[in-house]
Amino acid sequence: MREENDSNMKIDVHAHTKKTKQGEAEARDIEPKQFIEIIAGTDVRIVAITNHNVFDYTQYAAIKKEAGQDIQVWPGVELDVLEDDRRAHLLVIISPQKAQSLSEIMTKITSGKIPDTFSISIKGVIDNFDHLNPIYIAHYHQKKPDLLDESIEKLVSATKFPSRVIKEVTNSISAGIYISHGHRSIFGSDIQDWEKYGEIARDLPDLRLPVESYEHFCLLLEKDANAINTILDKKKSDLISLRPFEDDTELNLKVYNDINVLFGSKGTGKTMILNAIAKYYRDKGISADVFETGAEKLGANYDLKGKMFSIDLKTHGVDYCTNEIDSVKTATEKDVTNPSNYIQYFSTEIKNKNAKKIIIQNFVTGNLKQFERNFASIKSTQEKITEFLSFIRSDQTLRDNINTKKIGALETSLQEVISELDGIRGNKYVELKINQLFNSLIATVKREISRKTGTPERPVTTGFQDYALNRIGIEVSARKIKSNLKKVINIPNEYVGNLGRKGDLYCKTDVVFQDGHVSDGSLSPKSMVTKHPQKYFSRKMEEIIDSLCDTNLFEKIEELNSIENSELIKSLYELLLFKRYFVVDNKSYLPSNGEISMLLLHKELSEDKDVYILDEPEKSLSNDYINDTIVPLIKEKAKVCKKIFISTHDANIAVRTLPYNSIYREHKSDGYDTYVGNPFSNNLTNIRDRTDTLDWKEISMKTLEGGKEAFGERGRIYGDI
């Protein structure tokens, strides 16, 4: 099944492979191999060879052979038609199966003539070519030299296939205008220079429905219901049963993995149907929501209020400083040893002889800090290596990619290191414990001697060490808090959408710490702690750092603790401030309602879903944006077989997307009716009464806003087949 590729198919009904007339450019000449290479490089999958008054069967056969199965090459000729002494051009394209016959006819009628002077009348065309069941494409109006309306009428009247007479115009815009006036029209490349074909091909007509052959194309031209239904049936579809209305009326709809448009006057229940469709898919476990636009939704979508916004400070290299904040808040002053303790001790002589003999009483206690650090350092190193060994033993990727022997050797080495560290750790632990015990012993002995002899205890410290260690601890914590508060947190901008010439719109998140100096009123606190306590807390922390060797240090700490909600500040997270806003070129930007609608819709369509349900997506959007951005995006979704349901009053969407399925709701005196159809059959059929049909195009033009223009500006005939 080539459903996806077929959707990209373009057609060129007017290609030249050789210069046959004097005035033609040499650049029209092309070899079969090169011809197919160029065509294959574009989306054109059907090409008709229509040289002036010449059909070169040998070249055609060579091209067809090169083309293989991927590109349909239709034989044809561009004839000089002479009617009422007026020369005009008419393309005659026939089935590839009849190429030999075309060759024979052209040889016969051009015998003894040169392409420059050859001409044929309408009657001559009918007599010679009509039995080949051709498609006639006449140069029309601005496409010179053009056939007059009378001559075209003559052709239409004489041919057995009037539905196959098409007008060739200059471009897609002209084609649309003529379609809106009931003319069948198309345009081809009429290529002059093959080097420019790639560029020209981009604007050639799309084939919304896949065309399998020349004969198939002719059936579509004739709006053959079977041919259209056969194509539609190839597209995946669901028969869905809905109860969208309060009266519980059942609505059975065939919906396609393509564009399904709901249209009709306001108040005909389209939104209810969309909601029922969303529920239908949700009940089946498929994610489906009705998309509605609205200015407030963009802010909510991007969480401008930051309700869902969270941040892990660690991922930004910031320490939460939970222990440090607690350590500063709970710090208390250490006492020093009073000189009277020394005076008392040295004023009293120990009389007890045995007590005098205890030398240990003269010992002083040692500093344990270094021993504690040595032990902690070895312990931490050993734990990290043990963790690494455990990772090596459990990591499957390593086992899948590295030789078992090498892994074994690494494990053995690490195990040896761990064992050695284990020994060192034991020694450091013993060292620490010996010193702790020794300090304890000295203190106990002194205390006991003092108690037993009734003499004062010998002071073991001036108190300076503990006093200083306490302040150093506060300083270390406070400085760590301060340095982390200075860290810059960068959050990548989220792309929101393109605002055309204005540039790309992003959602930017500023995150800063209240370090005591932030005064931007647009920033909000991330936690329950409000802005003033945040500011006072950080300022007080700075004052603490400045007072570390001052006598008033603990007054400052007391002031820190008495700040409102200080108890809620447990980490730096509580000092976070943030702001989410939109930017263009990194400058704050407030999108208009129209821009918001545009961006929301673009975002919705950028998401990968199976079912898209859009309720009046055109709201606040300009026609240009709908045409140039939204319609192509919707078509892209259809190409990859997504289900798209669109309720719309806008012809740009309802017509230009060329939906596989049009659902029309009409209010009548006895209630509501639902019609289904498509632009290809040009019919809408009442689902309750198959005999009640409407003209799709007429209803679209009448019901939709901009209906006439939609048919006029950029219609493409093969979508309108």
């Binding site: 000189p339 040295f346 002071p459 108190g463 300076f464 060797c549």
Partner: protein
């Protein structure tokens, strides 16, 4: 001073008598600090200790007690300075470990 040992400044300390009061005077070059030995004034001692911490951030120092005698206050001063010196050295090490030294003197 061997390789790897840090230079240590030695400042003067002395007991002085002012009427009935005895003070331990600590001369740290930029100023002279006083600790009363006859009266318990913990806040004044803390103030002196704060200045010692600040000084320790700049350099490692100990005190040498001048004119040591055998009287009570000399004994007290000897004991006090001995303990204080050990503690000054320990705290200087701690300040170095916590990278809180100002213009630290590199070892070696």
């Amino acid at each position: 001073m061997g390789k790897g040992e840090e230079f240590m400044e030695i400042y003067d300390a002395k007991m002085i008598k002012d009427g009935e009061n005895h003070y331990l005077e600590l001369n740290i070059k930029i100023e002279t600090l006083r600790i009363s030995m006859t009266e318990d004034l913990p806040n004044e001692i803390k103030s002196v200790f704060n200045k010692l911490i600040l000084r320790l951030k700049s350099e490692h120092f100990n005190f040498k007690l001048e004119s040591v005698d055998t009287d009570l206050f000399s004994q007290v001063a000897t004991e006090y300075i001995g303990q204080l010196n050990r503690e000054l050295t320990a705290i200087h090490g701690e300040l170095a470990h916590q990278k809180l030294l100002v213009n630290p003197v590199k070892a070696g």
